[in-house]
């Protein structure tokens, strides 16, 4: 197992380097110039020096190398300094956003909590709803609960978040006036009342996201339970007189959870990646919204860094899912 993990970790390095190169080359084609907003009265040589200060004006491979250095060495060092109070990264150039002229990672750190709160809660809520629905619909296959559940998950699977989000805003915020339609990220939870306000503003985005994740997960859970319910070991368990509850919730569930857990792990990068569309609908200024504004403002270092962070998370959680699969299922051996 350890050998497999090490091999995969080593293999993921060239993958990530290649991905970063792909992103870099794609952004290299971008037509924008960060000096376009600078007044025409500024002389050309000053503009050129400003470009160089932003790390432009050098040949492409040099800039790519510099970006790699900044991302993989300077930023981690800076994080190390922040946690332990050392000063390794002092005087080193960090990845700078063209929009705000401040380090990209600082902005990401500001935006991360909002995304994690909304999308993370949605993910947990979705798991908590999806698993029982999947288990019960598989256990009572073709019952009315199963039929209804299958239909609802199919609808949840098909309705895009930019419609379900807008629909719940029309219903709950415009017609009924129960919840605010805009997520207020400056809101601080200090006492019970502000906690209720926070809860109210979180309900709609969380539910819209959870509907989608629930649909995928519970379909998966149901299929996995159905695969296991007819296995011989289930008959054995019943034959030796175990209660129905033990059979389903211990024997079958444990085996059915194996693929579901990996699917859950595979979905985690999307939490950090932010639900770009849902954040846009509810005006949550999280990571997804940051990415959209960065793309619109032609802020290439920001886009490059954010996209690459997403790529790292995807590769990492793919690896974690594979390892989890190997740990949970003794039949699978990576040798």
């Amino acid at each position: 197992m350890l050998q497999y993990t090490t091999r995969r970790l080593i293999l993921s390095v060239p993958t990530l380097l290649f991905i970063s190169l792909v992103i870099f080359l794609l952004l290299e084609l971008a037509p924008g110039d960060p000096m376009a907003q600078v007044p025409l009265t500024v002389p050309d040589e000053v503009k050129q020096r400003m470009r160089e200060a932003l790390g432009l004006g050098e040949p492409m491979p040099v800039r790519f190398g510099k970006w790699l250095w900044q991302f993989f060495v300077v930023e981690p060092l800076y994080l190390f300094d922040l946690t332990f109070g050392t000063s390794f990264a002092e005087g080193q150039q960090r990845v700078i956003s063209w929009q705000t002229r401040s380090p990209v990672m600082d902005i990401v750190a500001q935006r991360m909590p909002q995304t994690l709160w909304v999308v993370g809660t949605a993910y947990i809520v979705a798991i908590l709803i999806a698993l029982p629905i999947g288990i019960y619909s598989a256990y009572r296959q073709y019952s009315w609960f199963d039929q209804a559940g299958t239909f609802v998950t199919m609808v949840g699977f098909s309705v895009p978040p930019f419609f379900s989000g807008v629909l719940v805003i029309v219903i709950f915020s415009v017609q009924l006036g129960w919840f605010p339609s805009i997520y207020d990220t400056t809101h601080k939870v200090t006492d019970w009342e502000s906690f209720v306000v926070q809860l109210q503003q979180m309900i709609m985005p969380v539910m819209v996201l959870a509907l989608q994740i629930t649909s995928q997960l519970s379909r998966f859970m149901r299929a996995s339970m159905l695969d296991n319910l007819n296995q011989d070991y289930v008959r054995t368990a019943r034959a030796k007189g175990l209660g129905e509850k033990t059979v389903v919730l211990v024997h079958v569930l444990r085996n059915s959870m194996i693929p579901v857990v990996t699917v859950i792990a595979l979905g985690i990068p999307s939490i950090f990646g932010g639900a770009i569309i849902t954040e846009q609908v509810f005006k949550v200024n999280g990571i997804g919204q940051l990415l959209i504004t960065a793309i619109q403002a032609n802020d290439l270092p920001m886009v490059q860094t954010l996209t690459f962070v997403f790529a790292i998370l995807i590769v990492l959680f793919n690896l974690i899912a594979d390892i989890l699969y190997g740990i949970l299922d003794p039949r699978i051996r990576y040798d």
């Binding site: 037509p31 419609f163 029309v170």
Partner: protein, 338 residues
């Protein structure tokens, strides 16, 4: 799960299938092709059947509708007519509102420029569905090509599958947004704003959604390659090209068809999402996602402008997903005939 879906006539005749009994009873009837069996199974899957009815109804309406409907999607009234025709409500608002601004000439109302909503929905649907179908074709062609090559030619397997893994690790939506932004202007100036964006979006959605198809096809091809009928074909001197087109491809057709169906749904959703984020077609060129995006600002006064396009997107995707579900069941010979 990974059993190959055997449909080659060579093997089908000998396979001890569940229909053996039924076929013996109707021995005097002419032989039926397997597609009749698939259709029989498919139409008994009520969700899939109704999904297909809904999907073809939507396509029919969207294609024939603009020819029959009396309003033009691009007509913008000017002068006095503009004030009279703009911001009309749908005809059904009469039921609960006091003297709304409605007219039978514009059954679903008009937008803030006086353009007819129903006409725009119909022509927007043409674009959305066309994008969905075309992107599906692109993605299926790439996916099948990569899958067959990787499964059939041994030395290509490693590189092509690494490429697939690489694509799966890319954060697709951000890259799609970036790519649309980068290539929209050059392509628009080369091929016109509508044609350029259409080709751009179809290509981008196609080359970012072929990976699952490639994986499934490769797995099936790997299993098929070892079967006796391939050996038999090879022993009579079938060339590789003939082998792939005549023996391998027909046998991997069913997973390809299922992914093709589900691919339409993904493509429609992706196109609408791009339009919704403002990275889609040019402003006066309606698609369902674009119509929804344009109306979000006024959804408090005119909720119908948001609800109708959203409903149409959801209904189309839902019906396509149901078709895919039913097709998967109908094409699986182990379930068929139950």
């Amino acid at each position: 799960m990974t059993d190959p879906h055997v449909q080659s006539p060579l093997v089908e005749e000998r396979a001890p299938d569940p229909q053996g009994v039924r076929e013996a009873e109707n021995a005097d009837q002419p032989p039926r092709s397997q597609w009749w069996d698939v259709w029989d199974q498919f139409k008994h899957h009520s969700g899939a059947f109704w999904g297909m009815v809904v999907f073809f109804t939507i396509i029919f309406l969207v294609v024939v509708g603009p020819l029959l409907y009396w309003n033009d999607a691009t007509f913008v009234p000017t002068g006095r007519a503009f004030l009279e025709l703009r911001d009309m409500r749908p005809i059904y608002t009469v039921l609960w509102e006091v003297e709304p601004k409605v007219s039978w000439a514009h059954p679903l109302g008009t937008d803030n420029l006086g353009r007819d909503t129903l006409a725009r929905l119909l022509s927007g649907g043409q674009v959305s569905i066309a994008v969905g179908l075309a992107a599906m074709v692109v993605s299926i062609v790439i996916g099948t090509l990569v899958g067959v090559l990787a499964g059939y030619i041994r030395w290509l397997d490693g590189p092509l599958m690494r490429l697939t893994d690489l694509f799966l690790a890319l954060p697709l939506l951000p890259l799609l947004l970036v790519a649309v932004l980068l290539f929209r202007d050059p392509l628009s100036s080369a091929l016109g704003p509508e044609g350029g964006t259409f080709i751009l979006i179809v290509t981008l959605v196609g080359i970012t959604s072929w990976m699952q198809t490639a994986r499934i096809v490769r797995g099936d091809v790997l299993a098929l390659k070892e079967r006796e009928f391939v050996l038999a074909a090879r022993s009579i001197g079938t060339s590789n090209t003939r082998m792939i087109t005549r023996h391998i491809l027909p046998n991997v057709l069913s997973p390809i068809m299922v992914s093709a169906t589900l691919g339409i749904a993904t493509a429609i959703i992706t196109e609408s999402a791009l339009s919704f984020l403002g990275f889609g077609f040019p402003p006066d060129f309606p698609t369902w996602g674009k119509l929804l995006f344009d109306s979000v600002d006024r959804m408090v006064q005119y909720p119908e402008r948001v609800i109708w396009p959203g409903l149409l997107i959801s209904l189309t995707v839902l019906s396509v997903n149901y078709i895919g579900d039913g097709l998967r069941d109908a094409l699986d010979p182990r379930i068929r005939g139950r």
